[in-house]
Symmetry: C2
Subunit: 339 residues, 2 copies
């Protein structure tokens, strides 16, 4: 129980906003955590070892909670949502393993990233393994619609990641392009997690669409906040290094806003550090200074707030209930979290 609680709450402070949702899905989430452990097993010991390094590292389990919550909100009585939520978490874990290889990130959830400890090759392959496991779990639900939703989401995620690679170092990237990228790389899985929970509950099309929309908007907001925190968070709280995006030349909204307001000197700074990736130690501090100067963090958070408002509006097709309120709380948590 204690472990589950820690897993569900993540590396940061316990958050009142997620507590309500957590209590509502707690019993289901325990089953999900047990199934995660069961299905990451393999006769090849390195697989559970590497997967466990990431899976047991205090992820917030937001995506599987979304699936469980959506199924419950739609009155689902079966057990398929446990498998489905596990599949969602495995897809998420697989993409994290591959992303950390792709980004060469050193830290993940406050620990050394898997590829740093185990190497790139096993990280790629264990990602593939978990991805396959997730499809095995979906097959077990017997729902082709769920398989359809999540295979589509997986393709879109990969497209989003490649789009992001393509724009690395391109300081001409627009806010529109950036929003398209985060919709694909992050929001697609949030949307699919929520929608598939509704689908497995065999609810009506409007409720499916509403939960998909909730997930999508929540996912966009979540990524916006993540990208704001990369220039403003406290490292110990975030469990990853501040300035990762800057070092990788990843054009996120705080920088896009700062570039949009840049003087000649400032534009030259962004060109050197992001486009040419010529960075010295003091550059991150200066980047943060410019981002603050142009109020890019509050602007990014305001945008995130607009997306969570939209997410919550989508829930209006459901009558008031503790679960609906808990999902509104989750949206609140996504914009107010400090990690």
């Amino acid at each position: 129980m204690r472990v589950v609680q820690r897993l569900a709450k993540g590396a940061g402070e316990p958050s009142g906003a997620v507590d309500r949702l957590f209590r509502l899905v707690e019993a289901d989430l325990q089953h999900v955590n047990a199934l995660i452990l069961e299905r990451m097993r393999s006769d090849v010991p390195l697989i559970p070892e590497l997967a466990g390094h990431l899976i047991n590292s205090g992820g917030k389990r937001i995506r599987p909670m979304l699936t469980l919550a959506a199924a419950q909100l739609c009155g689902y009585q079966g057990l398929g949502h446990i498998r489905l939520a596990t599949a969602v978490e495995f897809i998420h874990t697989a993409t994290l393993l591959h992303d950390d290889v792709v980004d060469e990130s050193e830290l993940r959830r406050g620990r050394a990233a898997a590829h740093v400890i185990f190497g790139n090759a096993p990280s790629v392959l264990v990602g593939d393994f978990l991805f396959s496991r997730s499809f095995q779990l979906m097959v077990e639900t017997g729902s082709l619609r769920v398989l359809n939703i999540l295979s589509n989401a997986s393709a879109v995620i990969a497209e989003g990641e490649v789009m992001q690679l393509n724009t690395q170092g391109n300081i001409a990237v627009t806010e529109d392009t950036y929003l398209k990228i985060i919709a694909a790389k992050t929001a697609a899985l949030f949307a699919a997690a929520a929608e598939s929970g509704a689908v497995i509950a065999q609810t009506d099309g409007l409720r499916e669409a509403a939960l998909k929309l909730y997930g999508h908007n929540l996912g966009v907001a979540f990524q916006l906040v993540d990208d704001a925190l990369d220039y403003s968070g406290r490292e110990a709280m975030m469990g990853k290094a501040v300035g990762d995006d800057f070092r990788e030349g990843k054009l996120t909204l705080p920088v896009i806003i700062a570039v949009g307001h840049a003087s000649g000197d400032e534009a030259e700074f962004w060109r050197r550090t992001m486009a040419q990736r010529q960075q010295v130690d003091a550059d991150l501090t200066h980047a943060i200074h410019l981002i603050e100067k142009h109020h890019a963090i509050p602007a990014t958070l305001a945008k995130a707030r607009a997306f969570t408002d939209e997410a919550c509006r989508a829930l209006n097709v459901f009558p008031d209930s503790p679960m609906r309120r808990a999902l509104v709380d989750l949206a609140e948590f996504c914009v107010s979290r400090a990690y």
Copy 2:
């Protein structure tokens, strides 16, 4: 047509043994090639560009041909096998993209490997994209059993690849372990390709099992021959570098046999070159010399022949037909090919 023929025949000489099978599945294979082109499309141009680099490079399309042939042999009249064969080729392509990153191979099918041209990061992500696409195609067949077979195979493939990584440089690896690895990393997809062709044709359980067994044994034989060619093939014919396995410290059957017969000096040579990976230019030539001295290539090929014999025996549950004979030919091709 010409392109299809070239694609089906691969980089080497046209092979009489595959011609018969090729003619029988030619019409279907054209549809598969068209569907491959259609489904590797994406709004993100780098994706079809990178995928196309590998997909249009003259792969032999053996795995999708196996699916098409199995479906035909079981009297299938629908169109689902086109999607299924495309899904199989996408899984294969995804694993090749990831393998080349994992192995740091420079050449694939006679061209620079994708990661050498495009980088590791896009290769990993485009592999993920194709993997997702393959599940989308399977969903379109509407067959949960097919999804079950191929998601299981994908998990086993990843396990096989990790097992192989684990044994790299371990000169104590036994033939049994080696056979287990190639059964997982190669034969699992051959088996699934053939079995799923039978499943989509809704044949009986015995025929399904027979085609699975045929695919499995063919796949093991195929990999044994590949591993023999790595020490004995001609580079121009193979489309990949001779000695790749040696340079990577990959313990394949030719080396396992040579190590098993090694004198004290020879054992020391294998320890230095494979376990410690301290290699100088002349070492590959000496390795080939030792492999020849201990007749490890003919021994490996004899083992491959035993597996293809077993593959062909499995087909005896089917009455004689041009397709059955063509599959026997394919087994013949697998052991007699020079690339």
